[in-house]
Symmetry: C3
Subunit: 305 residues, 3 copies
């Protein structure tokens, strides 16, 4: 696969996804034996304009398991002189001068693309804006489904919770639409249902989907239940109660024995801790898969560098 | 010694303390020759919900001298989604997925214990709450006494300053009570004397102690004078003047020739800089001992991992 | 060269500058092949009381290319207990206990000097106060002129923009005055012209200079045009318009074919992006030179340590 930057999940073709996932499985083995020293000359800059310790740590741990070094900032917005338009570009040029890959989290949609146009080193989008892309999260989600279900074609996937706002559901819908005979269920109160642009995209790619207000009659036959993050403040402001969408032992008992439950973590009330020990609860492994997918992406970028 | 987590100073027995201190002396030698590469595959996450650069740097330097890598955050409280109870647990699970040891500083007492219950890697408490435990500080204090006085049994130790509030005096009292024929002096204005729970603990362990408002007649015959941090704002608010408890050349002249003066640093007016060059002023070496004790703890945790 | 601390640009003699620049050129070659592992036992502490991600990353990347490790803080001012005078000294002593070099950025002029007086490891001033020194920036600026113009004697250098406030123009003037037959042009509106102390310094060192309000008739014959940062807020407050001092294709066409354009980056409107691809635009290489000069300084400090 030819990979120069990682900007959005749509850029990956099915063959490139399969190559990435093969590589991620190799990385799983390398990480299990403590990592490698092969990339010890490489420096990764994590340039976060908005703090996100979990995502940053996952990238940085991936780099460390490869033997590399890390320049880190959680507060790139404090670049005191970066106040005018066009300065992101100069900042990227400066940081490209002292690193081999830039991991960028930005508050503006389109920032990673802009960065990639001037950077002399690869740029990886680590999330941007509120509704923008977060491609490595989408890739680790898809990798988790692939690892747990042993397939990506022919799957029924329920996305459940706050679907209008989060990046997770949107990005995953894009990626899943690349596979055959996938059926998507969007389960949410109508006020926070998935936005029409995604449905139009699915229509144009002839992907089957269904919208539902209630999880009833759906969770019993899907292969994957993906419960999204909740934004409590926002829900309270809009007076929306997502309790019927929470997953507990009762819900679990209605699910297929080989279905899986996913969540981007950390959760609050969306999933009862009593569910954690069920083999279908894969969200802790899902978080760990982020490490392997990010190691895989980094090595692919470095190997062709 | 079997060590899975480092949560509170009481968890250490006398034999385990001696084993730790032997290990710390070995680490002193290893650090003197620039460190080792033996733990280069290990990743330490320093997860600080409250910034404390000195403690964090000491842990991180310990890890570096062992050859390892560091994931660092000073602002874990900015984990934007960690707003609900129970989320510390998920955060710890996620970070355990990308590290080999977690060093946690938290604003809540009991946080390190909670973390240890769900973590798949060792957790080290790097200080919690205002009155909570800070076991590695207590261990480095005790190690300093051991290194400087060549003994821990039979010592007279004066703890002087703000004793009700700080963790230092409390933790050290717990640790010293494990040794034979120790005598403790708590020297402070009555409003900020050591709290009764510590005295009850000492009674139940049959440790000798004395309370005093004035350092007079005490400093001249003790082996150790431990001057605690002052919280100027708090003292001013309560209109308490700790000047009589400050250590200067005059005080020094009354002390035994082989006594030692300790302080957790940095000080403001508690110790006159004129005292710094006296051989009894051990506070700079005390700070350095933190490195060796933390290296020792990390290797003990890793070696049994 | 005997170098114990890097505090101000004046401390460097011409021979020591030449030795430093030879070393920097060697570092350029070492960085090009991915760096060295020669300094893997060394720990650098970047202690920033004021966040400056670009400067910090440049120092940290320099350390990584040498194989070393980095303790980093962007918010040293949050050292909660450092509220009283004299505590910088203790903080430096503590951090010297766990590092091999301290890179200090401070809000107070004179802080680096104070730190160097108590530190047991070398201290490098990474910028202090508003008008204070930032010697490594001055050194990388001078190195860039040396690399691009192949000489330092006999040069005509125009410093243009906000000259009263910034450290850049002041420090560079100090350094250039060490060389023979240098002529300096200070181009700025009179309200923000270079301050008299610099002119007095130049007089006493018999350096030729000229003040001008307009770049006209000057840019066409100088060897170096150094456009300084602008502080938009400050300029707006004082109702000063620097547009006539901006560099665009028109200005470029009047310049000598072998002149160079410098800027400390990032810029906003001072230099039109259309200028970026002209071979005379050296500001991106200038930023990269910071890496080599800092690698050179670090190795000189470590090699004599």
């Amino acid at each position: 696969m030819k990979l120069t930057h990682v900007i959005e999940s749509q850029q990956f073709t099915v063959p490139s996804l399969m190559e990435l996932f093969d590589r991620a499985q190799l990385m799983e083995k390398i990480a299990a034996r403590g990592g490698t020293r092969d990339y010890e000359n490489k420096i990764m800059a994590t340039l976060f304009y908005k703090s996100s310790t979990r995502t940053r740590f996952s990238f940085e741990a991936a780099m460390y398991r490869l033997g590399g070094k890390v320049l880190a900032t959680e507060h790139a917005n404090e670049f005191s002189s970066e106040i005018d338009g066009g300065q992101l570009e100069d900042t990227i040029r400066i940081i490209a001068n002292c690193s081999d890959v830039i991991v960028l989290r930005h508050t503006d949609e389109g920032a990673a693309k802009r960065a990639s146009l001037v950077s002399t080193v690869p740029v990886i989008n680590a999330g941007e804006g509120a509704g923008g892309q977060h491609p490595t999260q989408a890739l680790l989600d898809l990798y988790t489904i692939y690892r747990e279900c042993k397939a990506l074609n022919g799957l029924s996937v329920a996305l459940m919770g706050e679907l209008d706002n989060g990046r997770t559901a949107r990005s995953l819908a894009y990626l899943l639409s690349k596979f055959d005979r996938v059926k998507l269920y969007f389960i949410a109160p109508s006020e926070i249902q998935i936005k029409p642009d995604i449905l139009a995209y699915l229509d144009s790619h002839r992907v089957q989907y269904e919208l539902a207000e209630s999880p009833e009659h759906i969770l019993s036959h899907v292969d994957v239940v993906y419960r999204t993050h909740i934004d409590r403040e926002r829900l309270q402001r809009r007076d929306i109660d997502l309790t019927p969408y929470n997953i507990n032992a009762g819900v679990l008992s209605t699910m297929k024995s080989n279905a899986i439950i996913m969540h981007p973590l950390p959760r609050s009330v969306e999933i009862d801790p009593a569910v954690d020990n069920d083999p279908r609860a894969v969200y802790f492994r899902q978080s760990r898969n982020g490490l392997f997918v990010r190691m895989a992406l980094l090595t692919i970028l470095f190997d062709q560098g």
